[in-house]
């Protein structure tokens, strides 16, 4: 009981300070990871797109790879939309996703951020990089991390969490897969409702009520756990941890400022975020209205993602464009079949895939541009961030994981953009080495990440 009271008073102490900063820092406890290193990355963003890219168009041509040297290179047709942010972009070519062992798509999305193999046809064998960064290096925020996904749960997963669509895994003993947020309106409410200045008094009263309510809920979980068997106890304690996260979020006031602005609300009534629940295994069920709204919803989610970072609501965000099945259509590109159809279900269609990949590059350019437009005081939001863009495989028809089409962007932790890393001469080019190198940018000096048998040490050349 004493411990609980201490914890709450500690939280209240942090909450009383109106500036949104990680409370550990305010309390004068720099995180261990940060100690001793001046320039560490402060924000981590992951962006997933399905089906790799066109790293081989069937005639041996890599339509994704830039041409030129490390410091003097031309972006490919697929990457051309990223030209405006090229100087903050690090193209990381030549890596192999060696830890992706298991079902071809599932093992790919699992390994992408965890560097572990698929466990017995199930999920991951370790936490994902974003969760490790969130829990071990960045201190505490209103939300430890956020995961959002556009048009997710297509095809065989029928809208449910499954190895076929889960990229993020908790940094706990079960490595539980994390379901992404799907509803843009619910996200808007969850992240930005308290920013409404017209709502000040009522919002404060509501927060006070919520605190009392969660205090009660907290005690219920706390008192229930001891009488249970080990597995059930763990379940209840896990739930309690999440309740405490909510309590913490209430105690962290987010206030509007020049940097932190509520994004413009967007009407998404034509978009059904749970359309995956109606999906068929093969993508034969098409929701035309929802598919047509994907560009608008995606941009809205990116706007919210950027502000969630700028407002310091969270330091870690994941955006997932669909899932490894990607069984939705692209009406705005005049592509009436689903993405997986062009990948291989309908035979390999490199021209259509290139169109889709160019569009994803445009979206990524939008995100990076928006992050680069936020002035955090002498540097931009992108400058203090690391943004990792990837997929579950390199080449759709073969499901090959050689030459993964990875992009890293930003300037956090001394990351240097405007470069093209070929990695062609590296014999051990497992992508786990990139994961641990990214972790290093956050001040964690680990030498291994994920399954150690696929990791020989941090990839050099990021800084």
């Amino acid at each position: 009981m004493v411990q609980r009271l201490n914890r709450r008073s500690l939280l209240r102490g942090a909450g009383g300070i109106a500036i949104a900063m990680p409370w550990l820092e305010i309390m004068g406890h720099p995180t261990t990871a940060r100690a001793g290193r001046a320039n560490v990355a402060r924000k981590f963003v992951t962006v997933y797109t399905p089906g790799g890219s066109v790293v081989d168009n069937g005639e041996g041509e890599n339509r994704w790879r830039p041409t030129g040297t490390e410091n003097d290179f031309e972006l490919s047709a697929i990457l051309a939309p990223l030209e405006p942010v090229k100087d903050k972009l690090l193209v990381v070519d030549g890596l192999r996703m060696a830890s992706a062992v298991g079902e071809q798509h599932q093992a790919g999305i699992i390994a992408w951020l965890t560097g572990t193999t698929q466990q017995g046809g199930g999920f991951s064998g370790g936490p994902s990089l974003d969760q490790v960064i969130a829990t071990r290096t960045l201190g505490q925020y209103s939300k430890t991390s956020i995961q959002m996904a556009v048009r997710w749960g297509t095809g065989k997963s029928h809208g449910l969490l499954d190895p076929i669509n889960a990229a993020n895994y908790e940094d706990n003993e079960n490595f539980d897969p994390i379901p992404p947020r799907l509803d843009p309106q619910a996200m808007f409410e969850a992240f930005f409702a308290t920013l409404d200045p017209d709502n000040g008094g009522e919002a404060a009263a509501r927060i006070a009520r919520k605190q009392s309510i969660l205090d009660f809920v907290d005690r219920r979980y706390d008192s229930l756990a001891p009488g249970l068997g080990a597995a059930d106890k763990q379940k209840i304690e896990q739930h309690l941890d999440k309740i405490r996260e909510l309590e913490q979020a209430l105690d962290n006031d987010i206030v509007a400022s020049d940097v932190c602005q509520t994004p413009t609300a967007v009407d998404t009534s034509d978009y059904d975020p749970t359309t995956g629940l109606e999906s068929s295994d093969t993508g034969s069920v098409v929701n035309e209205s929802t598919d047509a709204a994907i560009p608008k919803v995606g941009q809205f989610m990116m706007d919210m993602l950027v502000m969630a970072l700028a407002c310091e609501i969270t330091p870690v965000a994941s955006l997932q464009w669909s899932d490894t099945e990607a069984k939705h259509t692209f009406p705005w590109l005049d592509l009436p079949q689903h993405h997986h159809y062009y990948q291989h279900d309908g035979g390999f269609r490199p021209l259509e895939l290139e169109q889709i990949q160019v569009w994803y590059s445009q979206q990524h350019a939008y995100l990076l541009g928006a992050m680069d437009a936020v002035d955090m005081g002498g540097h931009t939001l992108l400058d203090e961030s690391v943004v990792f863009f990837g997929s579950e495989l390199a080449q759709p028809p073969s499901h090959s994981k050689e030459n993964m089409p990875f992009l890293v962007a930003g300037g956090g932790g001394g990351l240097r953009g405007g470069r093209f890393l070929r990695n062609e001469a590296i014999p051990d080019n497992s992508h786990n080495n990139l994961l641990v190198a990214i972790l290093n940018l956050f001040g964690d000096d680990s030498q291994v990440f994920g399954d150690p048998s696929y990791c020989s040490g941090p990839l050099s050349g990021l800084t």
Binding site: Q118, L160, D162, I213
Partner: protein, 573 residues
């Protein structure tokens, strides 16, 4: 180049079992007519039937004890039903919660119910909304406790306190599905008073509802149990009422069950059975049966299934919706009025159609929107697996695919685990081009000619090929692209068959089919994925299912008579 990977199989997590290094041989399948083909995967095939050769691994627990059951959390559907019955809130609020893991295929696998930050946040948001709706008018409040109608801004603290106490005690007992202690009630009275002092009576009550709806006692099916005279640990009467109610009705116990629990009736197996009979006969069990089959069969998405209108001009998604209704109507009839057996479902020489669906099938003489029983042309169709929705719901958009049809039957209905391709095979896999052959048999020919593919595909394709007379919208065809369809195939490990009618007869007569059906129901009813250590329970269910002539309702009742349902594991496990 290999053509064998289709990327269309159910994911490993559906069955939650280790991937096999290779596929079963036909011999193994024949030998494995017993209980648990999956356990053989991990224990090297030592599980066949009665456990006599399993060296203790499958040894049964002493009678009167249960396998460890994991704490179950309400699924989204159960949450919706529960707040409907608890507060009259029929807005389906739990649809805003993050999705469950697919896991055992029914979304209720207790081992796959992790708690994410988002889930806790959404429980919080959903509870706030429900509480607000339940307290927004004086009339709504009065539904919770009649005294609330008399509470106004001018009411004195004493009458507000006394009304709050009355309301909270009654609500808490129903929300927690058990008797509650004075301490539990007092704590919430204090919470309501704390909030009321800053706001008003209704907001104070709303705060209580919001808190209770997030409590573990509400969200989880917490079971403490008690030791009976023989020292066995059993669920209390109220815990048993909850077990029964969520199984048969997918919701909280009703007043009858609550009273039976209060009266101590729910501790003996025969009184539990008589309540189970009452509940199964009640119409409230129908949605549960429907939910089970919607998840077992590939029919849940038929209402939005699209097909190329030029190639299949008589098909529309509206017809797809009617196909699903056909199957559900048929199942309800067969289970509650017809033969009541799984064999009957699989081989019924009739189905149900209305006028529009009859026209689609090319049947005459049916009028109106109501579904009526019609005889099938039994040279073409027989039973569930030949219904248009079941054969159309499995497949690729505009081409049939014997792999997915076969995989559905083998995995879902015969519980045969088929590994997904991995390792070296992966790099070479490419599915066939739609134009690579006139018939599916030609397009998927490499699956049988190439031994690398055949190892696994011989478990799926032979079933799918016997269903090739059904086109992608489930209509009969004799030819594909001008070539006469060869519908010969096999039920792997059972017998060769020619055409769909022989197929369903062979499936219906295979013991494995019925063991699997019992397994699927036990997974759904007990909220778990079948594992080797559930073998004893399944063995018993399977034997009883056989004894009853595969009576489906009897199986559902038998599920309430196992040690796993009647007892609990010893404390601390």
């Amino acid at each position: 180049m290999l053509f064998c990977g289709m990327g269309v199989l159910r994911t490993g997590a559906v069955v939650g079992l280790a991937l096999l290094a290779g596929c079963y041989s036909g011999k193994h399948l024949e030998a494995g007519g017993g209980t648990d083909p999956d356990a053989g995967a991990s224990s090297g095939g030592a599980d066949e039937s009665s456990g006599d050769e399993s060296g203790g691994e499958a040894s049964c627990l002493p009678e009167g004890s249960s396998e460890r059951a994991t704490l179950r959390r309400l699924t989204r559907q159960e949450y919706n039903n529960t707040v409907r019955d608890l507060l009259g809130d029929a807005t389906l609020p739990a649809n805003a919660l993050p999705s469950e893991e697919l896991a055992n295929g029914f979304g209720n696998d207790a081992d796959a119910q992790a708690v994410s930050s988002l889930l806790a946040e959404q429980y919080n948001a959903v509870a706030e909304d429900i509480a607000e709706r339940a307290t927004e008018t004086s009339a709504k409040l009065a539904e919770l406790a009649s005294c609330a109608a008399d509470i106004t801004e001018t009411s004195d603290t004493a009458s507000a306190d006394s009304c709050a106490a009355q309301l909270i005690e009654d609500f808490l007992r129903r929300a927690y599905r058990r008797p509650v202690t004075a301490t539990e009630v007092d704590e919430l009275i204090a919470l309501s008073a704390l909030i009321r002092d800053e706001t008003d009576f209704a907001t104070g009550i709303a705060g209580v509802l919001e808190a209770v709806l997030q409590s573990p006692d509400f969200l989880y099916r917490v079971e403490r149990g008690y030791l009976d005279d023989a020292g066995r640990r059993r669920p209390t009467g109220h815990e048993m009422a909850t077990r029964l109610s969520y199984f048969f009705w997918g919701t909280m116990p009703d007043d009858d069950l609550g009273e039976a629990a209060d009266a101590g009736e729910l501790t003996e197996s025969d009184s539990i059975l008589s309540h189970a009979e009452r509940m199964l006969d009640d119409d409230r069990s129908r949605p549960m049966v429907r939910f089970f089959f919607n998840n077992l069969l590939p029919i849940s998405s038929l209402a939005s299934l699209e097909r190329d209108a030029d190639r299949y001009p008589t098909y529309t998604p509206a017809i797809g919706a009617l196909m699903r209704e056909e199957t559900q109507h048929f199942l309800a009839y067969e289970i509650f009025e017809g033969t009541e057996t799984w064999d009957g479902v699989l081989t019924a020489p009739y189905t149900f159609v209305n006028e529009s669906l009859a026209e689609f099938y090319g049947l005459s003489g049916v009028q109106g929107d109501a579904f009526v029983k019609v005889d099938l042309d039994t040279s073409q169709r027989l039973g569930l697996l030949t219904q248009a929705g079941v054969v159309a719901g499995t497949i690729h958009s505009n081409e049939t695919n014997p792999v997915v049809r076969g995989a559905f039957v083998m995995r879902k209905l015969m519980c045969t685990e088929i590994p997904l391709p991995e390792g070296d095979v992966l790099e070479d896999i490419k599915p066939p081009d739609p134009d690579s052959g006139a018939t599916a048999r030609e397009r998927y020919g490499q699956h049988s000619s190439d031994p690398v593919c055949a190892g696994c595909h011989s478990l799926m394709d032979p079933i799918g090929l016997t269903l090739e007379n059904f086109d992608p919208v489930g209509l009969w065809r004799d030819t594909e692209n001008g070539v006469t369809i060869d519908a010969t195939g096999a039920v792997p490990g059972v017998a060769p068959v020619d055409g769909p009618v022989e197929l369903v007869q062979t499936i219906a007569s295979a013991p494995r089919t019925h063991t699997c059906f019992a397994q699927r129901w036990s997974e759904f009813a007990y909220g778990r994925t079948h594992r080797a250590d559930h073998a004893c329970t399944l063995e018993r269910l399977d034997a009883e299912f056989n004894d009853s002539g595969h009576d489906i309702r009897q199986l559902l009742l038998d599920l309430t008579q196992t040690d796993d349902f009647l007892f609990m594991p010893p404390e601390g496990t």
